[in-house]
Symmetry: C2
Subunit: 495 residues, 2 copies
Amino acid sequence: MIESIQLDKSSSKHLYIQLYIQLRGLIEAGKLKEHTKLPPIRKLSKSLGVNNVTIVNAYNLLEEENLVYKKVGSGTFVSAKNLVGDREDVYLDEEVYIDEDTKFVEDRKGVEEGDRVINFATAAPTPDLFPIAPFKRLLNKVLDRDRGYAFGYQKSQGYLPLRQSISEYIKSYNIESKIDEIQIVSGAQQGIDILAKTFLDYGDTVFVERPTYPGAISVFKSRRANIVDIPMGEDGIDIKALEAELAKEKPKFLYLMPNYQNPTGYSYSKEKKERILELAKEHDLLIIEDDCLSDLNYGKNNNSSLKSLDTESRVIYIKSFSKIFMPGLRLAFLIIPERYFNDILLSKYMSDIFTDGLVQRVLDLYFREEIWEEQISKLKQTYQQRYEAMVKSLHKYLPQRVKFTTPAGGLNLWLELPESISGKKLHQKALKKGINIAPGEVFYYSQKQENRVRLSIAAVTIEEIELGIKKLAKLIQTELDEENYRWDNSIMPLV
Amino acid sequence: MIESIQLDKSSSKHLYIQLYIQLRGLIEAGKLKEHTKLPPIRKLSKSLGVNNVTIVNAYNLLEEENLVYKKVGSGTFVSAKNLVGDREDVYLDEEVYIDEDTKFVEDRKGVEEGDRVINFATAAPTPDLFPIAPFKRLLNKVLDRDRGYAFGYQKSQGYLPLRQSISEYIKSYNIESKIDEIQIVSGAQQGIDILAKTFLDYGDTVFVERPTYPGAISVFKSRRANIVDIPMGEDGIDIKALEAELAKEKPKFLYLMPNYQNPTGYSYSKEKKERILELAKEHDLLIIEDDCLSDLNYGKNNNSSLKSLDTESRVIYIKSFSKIFMPGLRLAFLIIPERYFNDILLSKYMSDIFTDGLVQRVLDLYFREEIWEEQISKLKQTYQQRYEAMVKSLHKYLPQRVKFTTPAGGLNLWLELPESISGKKLHQKALKKGINIAPGEVFYYSQKQENRVRLSIAAVTIEEIELGIKKLAKLIQTELDEENYRWDNSIMPLV
């Protein structure tokens, strides 16, 4: 296959780019199979009559795209298909992050040669889900329209027309917001960081759900806050436990994900949403509502946000576009009550002064030209098909003793394994069989439940779902069989 | 002029965009003069036969670009030329930021009608300095080459080929760095924030220069650090004062700007740079070197960085592209010793997970296609001409009692006014005459010097420099004359 490569030295295109494009083409077309070794650098440079650096650069670019991987001392190999474009570390916490062995999402070390990796571990969508053509058209439109202005300093609060567009768009979520209440941020993670900077000081208390998003925990820890985590149930946070904690202490804020929570996928019932707002009134609380998935409802759920029910300006709303637009463009927004404008603006300023103006302008045109709705609706359709395939496979293959609910929305499903099975160990075993899953324990701040697992549908095809769940179920069954065997053996002498 | 506007309802272009473009054209061509009132919304919508919203949207877009400004109750007016594209708040500190009256850079309230604003207050370059054509070409190249990959999740450390390019490029600064040592961040401000997150805990001490960049002070305060500021001299920080502070306490790090410091423009002598590194060795110190202007040397200065002299990995280097590339693209990099890799990566992750991948790819091509050098060199030439004009005018017009040095580099000049003149009051008076300057006191953490002023050349033409300094000098002279008069009056009775 490599023999088909021809570089044109007279072209204005760099040689390494030509080589990169041709190799990428071969990989994408399946002509270079997974785990195929690419030719050694010297050999290829000689046969193509180019410099070593050309080959090195091309291989590096391929590696950057996760199209190939390198093994020290043995060369460069074509990646398993599902690693392509998968770069999310999104559920990592401090310990996990700095421990190489537990960098689950990017983990490839345990994969046995020849296996294909089916990735249920990441909630980051693959690049193929996002149409590039409209983006390119709008980007050029912005450049033609605004020229240098698109590259000047932007206001820390965000590009005004985009804030207008968002204010209009968010009406379809039953949220009425003034343009001034909208603060653009560089992704939801930055939103959390900015709010922590604004509200949390040394020793302040914050309430979170248990389990929750570890990226938020890291930020709260970094502010040296006192974190109180309150159990999540299938219909939302445990109200009694919340009330008990409120009786002890008033937190600076509650960090909640009321719809399709990460990692559980659970949503709050309408009653719980209302009760939370009542409690907020009673105790004069501030709530931070992190909403990145409420768009993805596949059934008849009431997926109204707390913000839409908030008549007293007690909720700060964070909305990310990463899961439903281009994940690589760091863009999200906050809706904030007026009394916090200045403090939050200062925190934004301290964080990165402002968010990239070019991307803000392009997103604005997405709204204004009404391409947005179309893109979300297509994406939702794709996710829904995957979600349904996932639920079907889970019911079909998983042993009875594995529990899960099907919230009919979002990207994640949350499994409760039998007590004896560790999610972390299952992760390791599954990886050897070419299946990546997220062990549940990384989503806990306290009282880690080791027998939980998060499965995401963001980066798997329908065929992979069936195949992957079948294999995963078999692994779990094997674990259970071994447990029974140990049990049998342990009671044997007593007979 | 407005009569010339024609909207094409059959065009695929939105009407408000058509209107925006035509109005912008009239403003840019000078056909709509500064402070001209635009037609009322209803009147224009009627005469053009379009909806009110079309006019509102177009006016809002113009306002966003600072091409027009609004006055409550009286309408929309064409901006003074020099406000166009000027959006920097870069020297603001907490107090200043939240106090509307002292938002100097965007301040327009004091300007008397008809005056033209000459902006010495901002160090942010105007958009016209950055050629858009190569950027557009490279952006499209990236989109064609990488398609969806350009929008996928990026590694928190940054896009690998860009880190390679930077590692190569920085060799010309005599800095040898491994690719792994380079961490991409979303602008220098984020770099400072990330390092503060990594190293500063409640009550930790940090040393800074006096005066210094207020965006750094805000961040250190937000980490509840104990800030010790050490006087800056024309040849760098006061070593004796530094040694005295070191005898008392070891800081977590020193935050320094050794070349063309902000706000003073001063650079450290070679001796002081070496002495700082010796002290770092003696006391086992970590230094954060913030370098955004060392590229802009107009003379024969030794503008070597501390990092290039650092043989013991005691320096973390921050390099921003905002002043020398496109300010609107939030992009900078850190060079970090290996022992901090994980901690800093975690802080980056907490801050915004990763920096926009599209922009990283474009910048990479700037380096690889060697357009970079050309752009910097052109920009430097422009700045040098302005700098020389500035120095000439200062010598020509300023009263003898105003002191300043001419460091022959960077974007800023630092004036020491006679004791009796307040920089803040001068700012207010100057603004009325259409001149914006940055009062020096906002750059102080302690021991504010009220008689200092920062003048920047980033957003003024050569003609404006001569005119602006002449007017400013006259204002200062008037102040001095009044002072003499008061003095004369006050001693009069004694005679």
